[in-house]
Amino acid sequence: MHSLCQGNHLDLRVGQSRREFLYAGLAGGLGLSLPNLLRLEAGMTIPDVAKVDAKADAVIHIYLPGGIAHQESWDPKPFASADYRGPLTPVKTNLPGVYFGEHFAKTAAIADKLTIIRSMTHGEAAHERGTHNMFTGYRPSPAIKFPSFGSVVSHELGVKNSLPPYVCVPQAFGGVAGGESMGTGYLSTAYGPFSLGSDPAQSNFAVRDLALPKDVTEQRFNRRRGLLDAVDAHFSSLEKSDALTAMDSFYQAAYGLVSSQKAREAFDLNAETPKLRDEYGRNQAGQRLLLARRLVESGVRLVTVTYGGWDHHSDIKNGFKNNAPNFDVAYARLIQDLDDRGMLDRTLVMVSSEFGRTPKINSTNGRDHYPRVFSVALAGGGVKRGMVYGSSDALGGEPDADPVSPESLAKTMYRLMGINAEKRLMADGGRPIDIVNGGEVIEGILA
């Protein structure tokens, strides 16, 4: 199957698939005769899962829900006719010949720290399906629920410094638009995200319930824990279920937070200087990104930040005016901040969206859903500085060079985190599933 004919489940599930061979192979252990097993193995193409070195310690995944127009952001078409170019005037970046959208002036000034992929492509034009692609690296399937990047990273890398490995700022968005893309899929719910539940932009922002109540001493808390273990023992001895196991693991995570002052401080924006908070911007974009930096600095493995609404079917001009400037300031400051702290090379910052938007401006001065080609911005964490990878054609309608599928993007992200995406994880019913199926690590962007 062609790498871009991705997620074609018909091909995945019918005929002599690799999986089928594997099952037969598994059966071998249960009494299949040797010659048969050997014959099956001859057909198997399970790659050895080699260990890969981590280039990044953490990922900040900034997600711009709705489908940001690549033409107005990372991939403007300054030389196209007006109905394709759109209403905004692109700005020059500090990379020769590279332009960004009008509202990305600050970002344009740090373009030499970024890698822009201008040839992302997939086939899902509905929000929830596109979101699924970009959060899991899998096309949605009617039969299997796939885990999000954060859940896989939690599963593979685990807890560091008592902090939850996967945090959503401000929360995992659910409902129809988000689908179940940010969840744990076939993995245990124990690998689910920690949602802040409140917005860092609020003046009284605090993550609730992180610390013990004031009138509970550590000694008393230990007694409580002891009693809880005793109380739980009877029930635990009788019952088994994923929900119960997951709850247990969340209690362990909670104990970790309670006992670590340092871990809790990761969530405290007041520990930042007012000056820096101003520079990020005292708004949703600024404070969310600043908090994301604090979190990865303290040991969170993957932070998903969502910001804005980019579904600009109409009046794209004002849509960008309302959403983009704050993002521009915050994002540019974040990259600079990470770099100043020497963290950028070990932190992958990925800006993505479910898809791009149609090449031509529509009758309501907007653009509609368009997954055929769009852009993703990467920075740090082992990717090159100052690069444009791949391109779209003159009108932003098709990938012109080096098309990148969600599978490839996912595989690259996992590789940078030191996770070999060829590895299989076990789903319900003893069904092994590749972390990413298909795609290639994008070698061209690796530093």
């Binding site: 018909l10 039969a143 659910g174 929900a243 309670v258």
Partner: protein, 939 residues
């Protein structure tokens, strides 16, 4: 020709005399081909030497092939084993380059010897016999069959009636055997097939071919049992023209050309676009025949058409080769191009439905196979075997997988559904795989009502033993939480346990059903489905309207108005949003597309969103269905009144639903039903309302029954409940059907259905599992441990800790279940996943555990603050109750059971040793109880 092909007869031989034969050939006496040689060839040779592979240009599937030989000359020289490679190359040293078979174990000495003797005796091959490769698994399956023959109950020919129209028609015949242990087996190739009148039809392999017009009978004989099927042939001598819609379009579906990832994508792929899953044949015809003229289709040299070259992989193609040159798919395309790419005449028949055979199979052991066949029916009354044009999928490959030809192979124990898709239709067949030689005896189970009968029947098929019945305490707690959303109080627990009435559980259910909290629970659930929520920015409904809407619903459910009447009143509602509150349904959602989708999703359980832009990929819904259904909602008028909060919803008598492709104004058509006759200006919603909530709409009652079921079991018979589709089938269709029928019979009084459910043994099963039902989540073999939903949990915390809560619009101490407005919430409810009612999706209610929940119980006010505020422990201590009594009281309050002796001991020891006041330690116990899973899970 009076008999069917020799193939079946000869194969019959295997079925009967086959044993573990492969290893043990007779040492003396003449060699019997069927007994001694055929299994050897089938397992060791034919895999590579067959017409599709022909290694070394040698065919070993027939006697002729062996004599003709391959690159190295004849494979068998009768009478001269040493000159026959079939013998000489199998006895080479094991590490010799030329040894046969090249992979796997060499032949044993006995096997080689019998081969030698067979050739020496003249290498006799039964006339006309063609053999196929069989894996050792298959050979084992055959051996297994032999052991089971005494259990054979019946055989059946599928399809049961066979009709052939036109010369090119052909019908695959299946012979399906049932055994008295409930298992089944495909015995087609082992049966003797005979057509009574060979003039009318003949059997070629397993395919029935037409002869002269007329009627006759096909009989199948297997192991002494005979089954028959009527055969009808019409126009058997005439040929049918190749048709674009009937023959060519299916090729694109079968070969995967028009899937979303390839040419079915909205922009096509590499410059060629097909409609997704073929929803637009007219458009596809134009694109194929009019674009890139002379190249995509080359009328002069059909084989040079790009369409063909790409599909065969002869030129670079992103999708690589999709089918072989010799395949029937290619032949169809070539024939169509050769005939000049004819478009269909307008009167060409269309597909009206497809059927799958068998509809259910129970396979024993791994490596069993069962062929499935699919037959399409057409609007002109004809039918066709479309098995080789169907796309097959299994929803559970680890248990049963299916190949492109529709052959299902069993693997691990489990259940899977094999989906077949053709044209716009999908059907499923249920496959159950049970382990071989399982020690299982059907248990004798108490059955309270039809629910138990149907659930147990399914468990028997799966060979799963259900868990036992839960204890009185467990039952009281479970049924109280499920029916009324309230924990039983400590005295209630003691009283119920002490009650000697043998029917006390039934009496309890009866008592609970009469409580007002029962109605409140369902008002809440329906409020979620009807999206009762206010919006701040006046985009939807005002708070006051929302209260009126909620009160209307509460009033109806409180008076036990049948659900069909409530729904009919809602859907047909007209008037002011204050005067007639159900009209708010059309105020909260004003977008016609959304209203259409919501009604389908909530009241029928169907997600038809996909069909807005293209035919549903995994279900039967087409764009015609979607826009036909939408036509019921295009004439909703809305106008403002003097009161800014009130809108009038009325029948505007104008406005049509336009199909985006054809631009045709679609006539209102019930989803999955008929087109009603409407007078101009007649209120379309009133017509829909009447149908929607009536027995004529089979989905309504089943959907309602499934929603009710899911509430009590934590998982629907179809799950999620609002995703009913052919590719997401019911785990127990008979059960769902019965529940739906009962509900209709009960005149849509779902209270009676709840009574049936709660009194069933199935509902009363324990959560503890046994080895056989451990992994079962969908067949109700044991109760599932479920976290309490947000509102019920909040109320439980309030009542256990004696801390009344204030919610907006409700008096202090009211329950969270009673909150009218979806936008009213608090941190606790949001954290534990209360539905915001922004969408109708059942996924709005979140039951997954999270870290925030753990933190909130551990550090937040849920436990610690509420313990202090409610003073439960403080009061007991002030009353100078002894420690043991307080511990008991706290356990009963939170868990609904007494503490175990060792549990009390731990606490008493802490009180004695910690040096803290006993109140502190007892409050810590209370904290622990509230933080325990035994409290906030229903079990």
């Amino acid at each position: 020709m009076k008999t069917s092909s020799l193939t079946s007869k000869a194969l019959l031989g295997i079925g009967l005399c086959f044993a573990t034969g492969l290893a043990r050939a007779e040492q003396s006496g003449p060699v019997d081909f069927v007994r001694d040689i055929q299994p050897l060839l089938e397992s060791k040779c034919v895999e590579c030497h067959n017409p599709s592979k022909s290694k070394g240009k040698l065919l070993m599937d027939s006697g002729e092939g062996l004599l003709k030989g391959g690159e190295g000359g004849a494979a068998v020289v009768p009478g001269a084993p040493e000159k026959s490679p079939v013998y000489s190359r199998v006895v080479l040293p094991h590490d010799h380059d030329d040894i046969m078979p090249p992979k796997g174990d060499p032949l044993t000495a006995e096997q080689a010897d019998v081969m030698k003797r067979w050739i020496a005796e003249g290498a006799k091959w039964p006339q006309g016999l063609v053999i196929k490769h069989k894996t050792e698994e298959e050979l084992k399956a055959l051996a297994r069959l032999k052991e089971k023959l005494n259990k054979l109950e019946s055989i059946e020919i599928l399809p049961g009636t066979l009709s052939l129209e036109t010369q090119r028609d052909s019908q695959r015949v299946l012979v399906f055997a049932r055994f008295n242990d409930g298992t089944t087996k495909d015995v087609t190739e082992l049966s003797e097939l005979k057509v009574a009148n060979a003039q009318v039809a003949s059997i070629n392999g397993v395919h029935l071919k037409p002869g002269q017009d007329g009627a006759t009978e096909l009989s199948a004989t297997f192991n002494g049992k005979t089954a028959t099927a009527a055969v009808k042939v019409a126009n058997g001598a005439k040929d049918r023209e190749v048709s674009f819609r009937l023959d060519v379009m299916p090729v694109f579906l079968k070969a995967g050309c028009n899937t979303g990832g390839c040419h079915g994508s909205a922009r096509g792929k590499d410059g060629f676009r097909l409609s997704l899953f073929g929803f637009d044949p007219a458009g596809d015809y134009d694109r194929i025949t009019r674009e890139m003229s002379g190249r995509r289709i080359n009328l002069a040299i059909p084989e040079d058409s790009t369409l063909i070259e790409k599909a065969l992989g002869e030129v670079p193609h992103s999708g690589n080769a999709c089918f072989d040159k010799d395949s029937h798919l290619n032949k169809t395309l070539i024939e169509w191009i050769s005939k000049g790419v004819p478009n269909d005449a307008p009167e060409v028949a269309h597909v009206t439905g497809i059927e799958i055979f068998p509809k259910q199979a129970v396979l024993e052991g791994q490596g069993e196979t069962q062929q499935v066949s699919v037959r399409a029916t057409y609007s002109d009354g004809t039918d066709r075997d479309v098995t080789n044009l169907v796309v097959f999928m299994s929803n559970n490959d680890p248990s049963a997988s299916v190949d492109k030809e529709g052959r299902v192979t069993s693997h691990d124990r489990g259940e899977s559904f094999i989906l077949a898709r053709f044209d716009v239709y999908s059907v499923v067949s249920q496959f159950i795989v049970i382990p071989e030689g399982l020690k299982y005896e059907r248990p004798k189970l108490v059955e309270a009502n039809y629910i138990d009968t149907l659930v147990n029947e399914k468990l028997h098929k799966l060979r799963i033993l259900p868990s036992g019945i839960c204890s009185d305490q467990e039952f009281l707690r479970r049924v109280s939480l499920d029916v009324v959303g309230v924990l039983p109080s400590a005295p209630e627990v003691s009283e119920f346990v002490a009650d000697a009435n043998p029917k006390k559980r039934e009496a309890l259910v009866e008592k609970l059903l009469q409580r007002k909290e029962f109605t409140e629970m369902w008002v809440m659930k329906w409020s979620e489905l009807m999206q009762i929520r206010s919006t701040e920015n006046n985009q939807g409904a005002y708070y006051k309207n929302v209260l009126l809407y909620y009160n209307w619903l509460a009033d109806r459910i409180g008076k036990n108005v049948p659900m069909n009447e409530i729904v009919a009143e809602l859907i047909a509602s007209q008037g002011g949003t204050i005067n007639n509150p159900p009209t708010n349904y059309f105020q909260i959602e004003r977008e016609t597309l959304k209203v259409t989708e919501n009604v389908a999703q909530v009241f029928m359980g169907m997600r038809i969103q996909c069909a807005q832009c293209h035919n549903h990929p995994f279900d039967r819904w087409t764009m015609n269905d979607y826009y036909g259904f939408m036509a019921f909602f295009t004439q909703i008028g809305r106008k403002a009144t003097d009161d800014p909060r009130e809108t009038i919803v009325f029948n505007s008598k104008g406005g049509e639903s336009r199909h985006p492709l054809t631009k045709a104004a679609m006539k209102p058509k019930f989803l999955g039903g008929d087109e009603p006759t409407l007078q101009p200006g007649e209120d379309r919603r009133a017509v829909l309302a009447k149908w929607l909530a009536s027995p004529e709409n089979p989905f309504f009652a089943r959907n309602l029954a499934n929603i009710t079921w899911a509430h009590f079991f934590g998982v629907g018979i179809i799950d999620p409940v609002d995703d009913v589709r052919i590719s997401n089938p019911a785990s127990n269709p008979e059960l769902l059907d019965s529940l739906g029928k009962k509900l209709t019979e009960y005149n849509y009084d779902f209270k009676r259905l709840v009574r049936d459910i709660c009194n069933s043994m199935t509902y009363q099963r324990a959560t503890q599992v046994n080895e056989s039902n451990e992994s079962d989540k969908r067949n109700f073999a044991h109760a599932l441990v479920r976290r309490m939903r947000a509102e019920v949990l909040a109320d439980a915390v309030s009542s256990v800790t004696n801390t009344p809560t204030k919610y907006q619009g409700l008096p202090l101490g009211a329950r969270a279940v009673q909150i009218a407005d979806g936008s009213v919430s608090n941190y606790f409810l949001t954290t534990f996943g209360r539905a915001s009612r922004e969408t109708v999706c059942s996924c709005e209610v979140k039951m997954d555990p999270t870290l925030s929940q753990a933190l909130h119980f551990m550090n937040g006010d849920a436990a610690h603050e509420n313990i202090k505020r409610g003073k439960v422990v403080a009061t007991l201590v002030n009353e100078k109750k002894p420690d043991q009594e307080i511990i008991q009281e706290l356990y009963l309050r939170t868990f609904g059971r007494e503490p175990l002796p060792k549990e009390s001991e731990v606490v008493l020891k802490q009180i004695a040793e910690s040096g803290e006041p006993r109140q502190v330690v007892l409050e810590d116990l209370f904290w622990a109880l509230l933080n325990s899973k035994e409290f906030y899970f229903n079990h």
